[in-house]
């Protein structure tokens, strides 16, 4: 939840922010979600009873570029967080927008990739490989999309905000989420795309 954090100077037992603790707990929990999806893919990736195999359809150069785009969005995200902490709202909005743009590029690439795969005969119901591939990368894509929506909403809210840096904790939280989505892709890129069946 994108919650603003204006509860300055509230004592907590650990001295840490509630929202941030909650976010890290959520990310810890997400590890088991993506772990399950990745395991399903790892078990089923070679089971192609029908349709194309991974080797036949993966376009490594293309996916490498979109992976690189997503990786760089982590850099712009961290710059946004940095700017927010320095109460630099203009910089924050700039970097948030760039991050959203890079994320959108990645999702666009994924849409293109799905379309290409589909045209080459790999549907969601074609084979176990197809079902588990689309489920895993689809879940990841949805996470990225949710991240983009949060980034854009944050830019909109930030622009209305009168106090510089008032949303800095929210920026940081969305940053954590965004980086998490990125590290999940780091794993997917290696395990799904680079390691042959």
């Amino acid at each position: 939840m994108a919650e603003s954090a204006t509860h300055d100077a509230h004592v907590t037992s650990t001295g840490l922010s509630n929202v941030k603790l909650g976010m890290w707990l959520f990310l810890g929990s997400e590890c088991l979600l993506f772990g399950g999806l990745i395991s399903t893919y790892m078990l089923y990736r070679g089971r192609v009873s029908n349709g194309p195999t991974p080797e036949q359809i993966y376009d490594i150069p293309f996916t490498s570029v979109s992976s690189f785009v997503l990786l760089m969005s982590s850099l712009t995200m961290v710059l946004a967080v940095s700017a927010a902490h320095n109460k630099d709202d203009r910089g924050t909005n700039l970097w948030l927008s760039v991050t959203a743009l890079l994320g959108a590029t990645f999702v666009g690439g994924q849409v293109y990739e799905f379309t290409a795969f589909y045209n080459e005969g790999l549907g969601f119901t074609t084979s176990l490989f197809g079902s588990s591939f689309y489920t895993l990368t689809g879940f990841h894509g949805v996470h990225v999309t949710v991240g983009i929506i949060m980034l854009m909403a944050l830019v909109a809210i930030n622009k209305r905000s009168k106090v510089p840096g008032s949303k800095s904790e929210t920026v940081e939280m969305i940053g954590l989420y965004w980086h998490f989505v990125d590290i999940v892709w780091i794993i997917i890129f290696t395990l799904v795309y680079l390691i042959p069946v």
Binding site: M1, S4, L33, G36, L43, S127, S131, A153
Partner: protein, 667 residues
Amino acid sequence: MAIIERPAPGSTVPALTPAPPAITPARTYGALRRPVATTGWKSWLFTVDHKKLGLMYGATALFFFIVGGLEAVLIRLQLAAPGGKVLNADLYNQMFTMHATTMVFLFVMPMAAGFANYFVPLQIGARDVAFPRINAFGFWCLLAGGIVVNLAWFLGGAADGGWFMYAPNSGPVFSPSHGVDFWTLGLQIAGIASLTGAINLIVTVLNMRAPGMTLMKMPIFTWMITVVQFLLLFAIPVITVALFLLTFQRSFGAQFFDVAAGADPLLWQHLFWIFGHPEVYVLILPSFGIISEVLPVFSRKPLFGYPFVVFSGAAIGFVGWGVWAHHMFASGLGPVSVAVFSLATMAIAVPTGVKIINWTLTMWGGKLVFTTAMKFAIGLVVLFTIGGLSGVTHSVAPSDTQQTDTYYIVAHFHYVLFGGAIFGIFSGFYYWWPKMFGKMLNERLGSWNFWLMVIGMNMTFGPMHILGLQGQPRRMYQWTEARAGEGFFNLAFWNLIASVGSLILTVGIGLFLINIVVTARSKVRAPLDPWNARSLEWMTSNPPKEHNFDSIPHVHHLDEFFHRKYEEDPTTHTMREVATAEEVLAELERNADKHIHMPSPSYWPLVLASGMPVVALGIIYSIPVAIVGGLIMLYALYGWALEPATAPESDFDSTSNNGHAVGASHG
């Protein structure tokens, strides 16, 4: 803390009757105005108060307990005699599936969540949870999930694959009704409640403890709930994955469990039990926590070996992740896996044994008062011991291959879950009822309630040990005389005993419901400290004020409340009273905090949660409906995000001076 400090007009806070705060919304947020009702049904619908939500969890759980109980009675009536005709095969399969689903997901878990919601903030000296709105959202998700799962009864038949829902029997071919679809989607929604609740309570426990309350001074119930929340935090996503895979297969033609396409049905079993085994501890640990509160209170002694109980609880939680495959000893894992999981399962018996030892030694040398709460607690210790020991017998994998999927297992987990989890919950009812409602449950009725439940429970589930060892498998809608055998251990006799027992059990639980009504009608108020209790939740009025504590107590001891009332006699080492509960409370009131602000109600949790069943129905029947549900949720998220975390001053009626104002939530 989530409590927003804001100057409250009026320096004194009325002691036992919190005045209703008066609020007027000055502006709209998103699309709806902030709700203002502080009494009546709206105050429940839009509440974010952890105590109200706790009671709502409890009421929902109790309702589903009755539903699940009636399902169980139908099952036992069907099995009372060979070739039962009460239910047909199809209905029977739905009945046992829904009995387990209801009891696990819609009774024990939400009831524990209810107790946790109500008492964890009180026990740690907090005024609310860390994310009150998320808390409300969790409750509505649970309710929505419960409704969706049970809706199937009226729309072509409930799920019929067993609560474990093994693939491929749960696939579209083998379970053609929509029952399983309602089941997966309903549990998915209910799972959100568990996940958000877990994050919320962990943050609450980590961050919102009263000054001086270190982790090792936390009440044991709070500790056990914390362990449970970690289990949920990590286990729920696993079942989420499994449920998604099944939904995708059933609704969108994915092939995850389609053997013809090369799928391996054991994938489902692994995902289900990686979740399912921690889930077992999710069900039992809250009750361990409850009786670890009750036994010391009525033994007038601290919990024996508190750190051991804490660490064994944590150890159970941890080792609980390494034993899931003991549900699969007959599945054909291969001897290496079976051996490893068999040994790990034996290991988990050790911390469980530690707890039983500590409970016994807590009573040893005490001054035992046999209230109903205490009786249920002792009942748990004995019955759980039986269930635990039968559990050890099937940690031995070869012997488990004779016992698994027979009534012996049914006996085992009912001793653990009925004798364990449910007895703990009942102990909690009797112990905490005066705290929650300001009235004591009738102890005479309580005693009848207890004894009928003990007799009924042992008559119902005790014979199942025999039935199982005599080879009666589970999940059979009928049993046949041809396999009933002769002599003392024939199946017919013991099946009949079990069925009669279930009726006694029903009467026992009926007495509890009667007790609730009798108590509600009674005019007698409970005393402030009826049990001579020990922990912080008793250091406030019955029921607690909306803000829980007039002043947040500084904690110096485990069992802080007890140590404010009693001091040790230096010569005899016995304890003598130095202050009454009323005096302790008066002391707190004298130092009442001047600025107390509670989170204000919100529509958005309810609106957001209400979108989910719409999405679920849409996935089952028509995708456009799902899109409508999605739009409702987007709208709610929009409203939620724009609802300020801190309500501005203008949102409150500045002329009001008759109460503590209401601030905004963080969640």
